[in-house]
Amino acid sequence: MSAAPIGKDLLGLEHLSADQIRLILDTAEPFKEISLRAIKKVPTLRGMTIVNLFFEASTRTRISFEFAEKRLSADTVNVASSGSSVSKGETLVDTARNLEAMKIDMVVMRHGASGAAKFLADRIRSNVINAGDGTHEHPTQGLLDILTLRDRWGSLEGRRVCICGDVLHSRVARSNIWGLRKLGAEVAVCGPRSLLPNAIDELGVTVFGRIEEAIEWAEALNILRLQLERMQAGYIPSLREYNRVFGVTRERLERSPRDLVIMHPGPMNRGVEIDSDVADGPHSVILDQVTNGVAVRMAVLYLLAGGRPEVAEAAKG
């Protein structure tokens, strides 16, 4: 077991304390500077092996983790489900055991099933980082969103953030709700009823059914991707209808009583949940989110890799 101050694994923000979240954010701050250096690399995790195990397609999260790992000098291996033994019927546990038998130190895993990261973490000694599990959590995305807002505001205390769009299918939404509320922010969600989970208000959030209400209330909008691949199920009448009713447009933002911070975890459907002149406009911090993502992931890797008593014991001899 690791004596890391945030535990052996990072599975979600639901079970982290406010202090643990602040520790990760504070640790991420100095890591930002490394990405600005001519040589964007420190030797901190030299000798450690990290497997990026992506059972679902992901480009930006995997690349962001890979940058973070390489900037800390870890050795990395990328495994995608297609073409691997997983597609030949191997179970998750067998995959993990095989990887661990190859003496890896950490696993970064994206999986389509909620709870898959915990399932794995309970069965292997390596540190596990959840890079998105089903519709459950995506903790590093939540942390980078919170860091981006903290950079802007200094503190989250009493600030109002509205998460807009397809909350039902979003793992980002849950991590944001838990993390933001723990740091003292007020959180709301806004979207068509068909894309909001039942009993969402039990998470302590306000629910808006009209985007105009959300814009009037919020200081920041975190606009979620409409998961088009799931839209065959008839959650909304049409994309055009969705944009007309819930799309964040410049005209709508101009009616806001304040300068709203505009966020989006990407990839964006321009002209659906967000218009291009909003995504590229002066209030958008979308690219700051991407930059902060690398720093947050470096911080998480650094904190999880800390303090391995078994190594310390061996070193004494």
Binding site: P30, E33, A38, V42, T44, Y302, A305, A312
Partner: protein, 181 residues
């Protein structure tokens, strides 16, 4: 109960820093291309003090930077929960510069090795010197200081604490544990 004794009081710290500043200027025969880089945390304040004295002697404001070596430590796999990472701030190119690394205490030499590794990632200075307020002996690596405020021979079980007004409310150097080697 752990005993402690004052090695340098505030006046002695001020006198020592003044002498160190003079030695730095002498070592480099002036201040051309001179840069002071303090190691987080107390090395940064000591670098500021040295720079202020150098300015009073030479009339030149010497640039200063800060170096946090945490990510370059060679014992991160063995220490407990990760140490807090501080900020590195070197806002200029260090190629061709004459750098003085400033730290409070020189002990095993591992911090300085890490600092040299980190500096190498930023560029290629013309020369690097080391200035420390206290050299307590006990080196584990072949590293020496060019400018030393106070030399002590301290047993491994004892500790040298450097206090600076900016962080601790007063200036002093104390020996904790008492046993000189």
């Amino acid at each position: 109960m752990t005993s402690s004794s004052t090695v340098l009081n505030a006046q002695a710290v001020a006198r020592t820093i003044r002498r160190m500043a003079e030695e730095v200027v002498e070592l480099f025969d002036g201040t051309d291309d001179l840069v002071l880089v303090g190691i987080q945390r107390r090395g940064v304040q000591l670098a500021d003090r040295l720079a202020a004295v150098i300015e009073s002697i030479e009339g030149v404001r010497v640039p200063r930077g800060a170096l946090d070596i945490t990510l370059y430590r060679d014992d991160l796999q063995t220490v407990g929960p990760r140490p807090v990472v501080g900020k590195t701030h070197l806002p200029w190119a260090i190629d061709g510069k004459r750098l003085v690394i400033v730290d409070d205490v020189l002990y095993t030499g591992r911090t300085i090795r890490a600092a040299l590794d980190e500096l190498a990632d930023f560029g290629r200075p013309a020369r690097i010197a080391l200035a420390v307020l206290v050299d307590r002996g006990g080196r584990e690596l072949p590293i020496h200081a060019d400018v030393v405020g106070k030399r002590l021979d301290v047993a491994p079980g004892s500790r040298v604490d450097v206090m600076v007004t900016e962080l601790d409310g007063h200036d002093a150097v104390e020996l904790v544990g008492g046993g000189k080697g």
